[in-house]
């Protein structure tokens, strides 16, 4: 999009709801882009297509910009799929593509589609070739589309005895695509066009005029829905997935007020409405907990009353065990939310707050604008869809670690109680019996390592975001190495909490990445980790000196002076950050004595 002098064009609102007119959405994008801070990340989309998808631009740009990311879009030719992927000068192979998105339709892929006797085998063969080329492509993430199963059957109401009708063939082809994505996830993800039209319907999704005039088959509802799905993936890749759900109780987890209606009077039921809507809502809360999202409560109530419901109500799916924290008192909810954030060592911008009371929500919106607020809708029958609808918590992969994270925070509560019993910090730390297991990363850890690079914001010296593909690259190269820290104490394991990536150039080792998960901080584990890694890397590569850099971000100011602890000397202040140099193979400081190091 060309930039123009804004005063010439006119004063258009910079914040428009997605329900605004198309012309207002287009007009707003320039102003939104100009308002972005210089630190806002760029994100490059490449479209591999045989149909016209450019109509998505207003919606995709608007959604990306309101998420404070600068989008750039590049399109391949029409139906030159292999050339676009293989030719070194194609727009899709030059420059960095963050996400390659396919827009491939059968009508253009196979000219025999729709004719009697058509089978999907030719299309499948071509797709296999395309997928193989995609596996070798440099794009970090690839989003594949499914095909839209025909709306009308060519055989009418009868059922084909050998499942050879077009719908069955397309369904099989889609299974092939889905299976490929499953096997190659998370680098590959799915844009399920068939499910989207299922959601939206043929007439709201399809514009046959533009299909015939310019091979652009989709209406606004479909394009905006597809843009929304793409942005969910972008948010996940940029480490912005929400991690914590805070729930009010009365008229949120159940209908009614437990302090007034009592256990028998509140509405929460697996059969009867409206209780069933709350029951179905609780199911979605459990689904999120299963994915490793932290679930907490924030309610104006007596603790006793709330826990009576969780412990004893026959239809409460949510139990005490699901909670990673709670603030049930008569105090101001804004203060309670801030407390929860401190307890969980999590920024408020990772929080989602659900309440039925618009006054409470408005106060949070004003005082803590970084928290995403959701209101229990008046149309209670639409309530159960609320938490999953916008993909706020979406990540591209979950690991066992995610699912155990809630348990870790519960254990953290225990540790904090323990802390009160010790006179000083050192006594407390010694009593924890910390063990740091530090080893070169294995292939099985790639997913968790990539995830940590995407999600860790505070203790992160360089905030470089890597995908599984990138980590595998580091592992495969002889000039780079990846070390991981798995920590535990006498209360249990903290899991994989540290990542150290180094490269070397001759006799100089360069720290590319050093990060620690929030939950492992405050125990000096980072010192044990860094010293051990530098020792081992220094020996393996016979280094004479080290280079490191601190790249400041909105969230990592706590590690600004980190390298100085190890005797690194500051060098020049570059455009992006401060570089450091250590003129020795290892630092001279000793590791913390109370941490036992396990090597493999």
């Amino acid at each position: 999009m060309q930039s123009r002098n804004k005063s010439e064009i006119g004063n258009f609102p910079t914040s428009v709801e997605p329900t605004a007119s198309l012309s207002d959405i287009i007009a707003a994008t320039d102003t939104l882009e100009a308002a972005l801070p210089p630190s806002a990340p760029k994100f490059n989309f490449g479209f591999l297509r045989n149909v016209t998808l450019e109509g998505i631009e207003p919606y995709l740009c608007y959604r990306m910009l309101t998420n404070r990311v600068r989008p750039r879009m590049v399109y391949g030719g029409y139906g030159s799929l292999m050339q676009d992927l293989l030719h070194p000068n194609s727009p899709l192979t030059t420059g960095r593509t963050d996400m390659l998105v396919t827009a491939i339709m059968l009508e253009e892929l196979d000219p025999r589609y729709g004719l009697p006797g058509w089978t999907s085998s030719r299309a499948r063969d071509e797709l296999e070739g395309v997928f193989e080329a995609l596996l070798a492509n440099g794009a970090a993430t690839i989003a594949l589309n499914t095909f839209i199963v025909p709306y009308r059957s060519e055989i009418g109401v009868m059922t084909s005895s050998d499942a050879s009708d077009a719908a069955a063939e397309v369904t099989r082809l889609n299974e092939f695509v889905r299976d490929f994505v499953r096997r190659n996830s998370p680098r590959f993800c799915l844009m399920d066009w068939d499910r989207l039209v299922h959601l939206i319907g043929e007439s709201a999704a399809t514009d046959y005029r533009y299909w015939y005039l310019s091979r652009a088959p989709f209406k606004r509802a479909f394009l905006d829905a597809l843009a929304k799905e793409l942005v969910k993936v972008v948010r996940a890749l940029l480490g912005r997935a929400k991690k914590c759900l805070v729930l009010d109780c009365d008229n949120t987890l159940w209908g009614g007020i437990v302090g007034e209606d009592g256990l028998e009077g509140i509405k929460l039921d697996g059969h009867e409405y409206p209780g069933r809507a709350f029951y179905d809502f609780q199911k979605t809360v459990l689904q999120l907990a299963e994915r490793g999202i932290l679930v907490t409560l924030c309610s104006r109530n007596n603790e006793q009353d709330v826990f009576t419901v969780l412990d004893r109500h026959p239809w409460s799916l949510l139990k005490r065990d699901h909670l990673s924290g709670f603030r049930i008192n008569w105090e101001d909810k804004t203060a309670n939310l801030a407390d929860l954030a401190k307890d969980l060592n999590l920024g408020l911008d990772f929080f989602v707050f659900v309440d039925d009371n618009p006054r409470e929500l408005e106060m949070v919106r004003q005082m803590l604008p970084q928290v995403t607020i959701l209101q229990v809708p008046e149309r209670l029958y639409e309530y159960p869809a609320l938490l999953l609808r916008d993909g706020l918590f979406d990540t591209l992969a979950t690991s066992r670690e995610d699912r155990h994270r809630a348990k870790h925070y519960q254990m953290e509560v225990q540790r904090k109680a323990e802390r009160g019993r010790h006179q000083n910090l050192e006594g407390y730390l010694r009593s924890l019996e910390l063990v740091a297991s530090i080893h070169p990363a294995g292939l099985g850890e790639v997913g968790r390592i990539a995830q940590l690079t995407q999600k860790t914001n505070q203790f992160n010296l360089t905030t470089r975001r890597y995908t599984d593909h990138d980590i595998q690259g580091f592992l495969a190269s002889p000039d780079s190495c990846v070390y991981t820290l798995v920590a535990s104490d006498r209360f249990g394991s903290l899991g994989l909490v540290g990542v150290f990536i180094a490269r070397h150039r001759g006799q100089t080792a360069i720290v590319d990445t050093l990060l620690m998960s929030c939950r492992a901080l405050g125990r000096h584990l980072e010192h044990a980790f860094v010293l051990e890694c530098m020792q081992r890397v220094g020996t393996t590569w016979e280094v004479e000196e080290w280079e490191a850099v601190y790249l400041p971000s909105a969230k990592n100011s706590q590690v600004a002076a980190f390298w100085e602890i190890y005797g690194f000397k500051p060098q020049e202040q570059g455009e992006q950050g401060q570089s450091y140099n250590l003129g020795a193979p290892v630092p001279t400081i000793d590791p913390p004595a109370f941490i036992r190091i396990e090597r493999e």
């Binding site: 999009m1 006119g10 012309s23």
Partner: protein, 78 residues
């Protein structure tokens, strides 16, 4: 200037991202670089939203200039 022409010009400035003074009375796809095929599709869709009308496939293909566009809208919009 009529109400239809006013509103059409407003939509055009937003969609083509071109100041009003640069949209001549004889503006067309031939003389306005910003009015490319993607902009044309968005323009016709935006005008349908603005006036609550629907263009036929023929009208979409034919209305590549402002005078004809305004005539077409006048005949559809009451």
């Amino acid at each position: 200037m009529s109400d239809i022409e006013n509103r059409t010009r407003t939509v055009m400035t937003k969609v083509l991202q071109t100041p009003a003074q640069e949209i001549a009375a004889e503006a067309s796809r031939k003389n306005l670089a910003a009015w490319d095929s993607l902009a044309h599709m968005n323009l016709m869709l935006a005008l349908e939203e603005e006036f609550g009308v629907e263009f036929s496939d023929q009208e979409i293909a034919d209305c590549d200039n402002l005078p004809l566009l305004l005539d077409t809208l006048r005949s559809k919009y009451t």
